[in-house]
């Protein structure tokens, strides 16, 4: 690829990303009343989107091969326990990640 072609390729990726981020805000501008259905989605989608994101983070886990997702399961369990116990975001994240690093480096 020439430099120009590279710039055009990157520009296409930038444009694609910008479209996915801006589209909802352009279709439903803040100063116009929104359809009821979109308002409904605005209220229920955050939980579903975050749930989807949790699975997306784990998309490369294979239950049938490698470590069978055991380190991930144990570490997420640790995150949940820590979080329900102390409800400190930092402790839950640091603790869960620490356990994951230990598990995949020394146990599995």
């Amino acid at each position: 690829m020439t430099i120009t072609q590279q710039i055009l390729t990157i520009a296409a990726v930038v444009l694609g990303t910008v479209v996915t981020r801006f589209l909802p805000f352009i279709i439903f501008p803040a100063d116009k009343p929104r359809p009821k259905y979109v308002k409904f989605l605005g209220r229920v989608l955050p939980s579903a989107a975050l749930g989807m994101l949790v699975v997306y983070c784990l998309k490369n886990v294979n239950v049938f091969a490698g470590t069978h997702g055991i380190p991930e399961t144990l570490s997420i369990l640790a995150v949940c326990i820590l979080h329900f116990w102390k409800r400190s975001m930092f402790l839950s994240i640091a603790g869960g990640t620490g356990i994951y690093i230990l598990l995949i480096n020394f146990v599995f």
Binding site: L23, S47, A49, H83
Partner: protein, 235 residues
């Protein structure tokens, strides 16, 4: 309260929320910079691409696109597919990003997975300007990523710190944010639908093609149960 102290207050409130991202993005950004270096690109590529694209997984894909045949339309369509999940984020943030002035456009531009998660769920302390809070979360996360990619691109060949598993920090962060969201709401139907539909689609469509089917399924199921959900959410 004058403008300056208002901005400073929002910065102080936003900063702690971004600390886990600082650690995660620095490592991931460095990994991306090194990846680009190994693929034969000079440091300017990861620096400019992290600044302009600002969508982690798509930047790795873009590196492969640059190494292949020239096909900008294909690159555009692929990007739409990989990043389609942003549409859900946008619909979720329509209300929150209202009335924040010109900052709104930057908030939307910088809405990566992590920034969306924080801004969507964070309880902004009373007296803190929400627009500036959202702005600093977005800006700080953006800077962490660009910093990581730049460091990786420039010093990639000298860096030999590799901590296997550190990238789990992002998963842990998202899990915690998801838990917080569940603790905040009384009805968990939507959360369960999000997790369930996505797992199902991951099994059916495989690791590379499951996000768009998941989104369609989530929309379908939510729409199907709209009446019940609406009643429960309003209670």
């Amino acid at each position: 309260m004058n403008k300056k102290s208002e901005v400073r207050k929002a910065f102080k409130a936003a900063l702690p929320h971004t600390i886990p991202i600082f650690a995660g993005f620095l490592f991931l950004g460095i990994a991306y910079g090194i990846y680009m270096k190994l693929a034969g690109f000079s440091a300017i590529y990861p620096i400019l691409m992290s600044m302009t694209i600002f969508a982690g997984s798509m930047e790795f894909v873009a590196a492969d696109l640059l190494l292949g045949a020239f096909n900008p339309v294909g690159a555009f369509v692929l990007t739409l597919m990989v990043n389609a999940r942003h549409l859900f984020y946008g619909i979720s943030m329509l209300d929150k990003y209202k009335d924040v002035g010109k900052k709104k456009w930057y908030l939307i531009f910088g809405m990566c997975d992590e920034t969306f998660s924080i801004n969507c769920t964070a309880q902004i302390p009373v007296g803190v300007d929400k627009g500036w809070f959202y702005f600093f979360v977005t800006l700080l996360n953006y800077l962490y990523w660009v910093l990581g990619a730049s460091v990786g691109g420039i010093f990639g060949s000298f860096i030999n710190i590799k901590i296997e598993g550190i990238d789990f920090i992002m998963t842990a962060l998202i899990v915690v944010i998801f838990l917080e969201q569940c603790l905040k709401e009384k009805d968990h139907t939507s959360a369960v639908i999000g997790i369930g539909a996505t797992i199902l689609c991951r099994i059916i469509f495989g690791a590379d093609n499951f996000i768009i089917p998941s989104m369609i399924m989530i929309l379908g199921v939510l729409t199907l149960f709209r009446n019940q959900l609406q009643r429960r959410v309003e209670e």
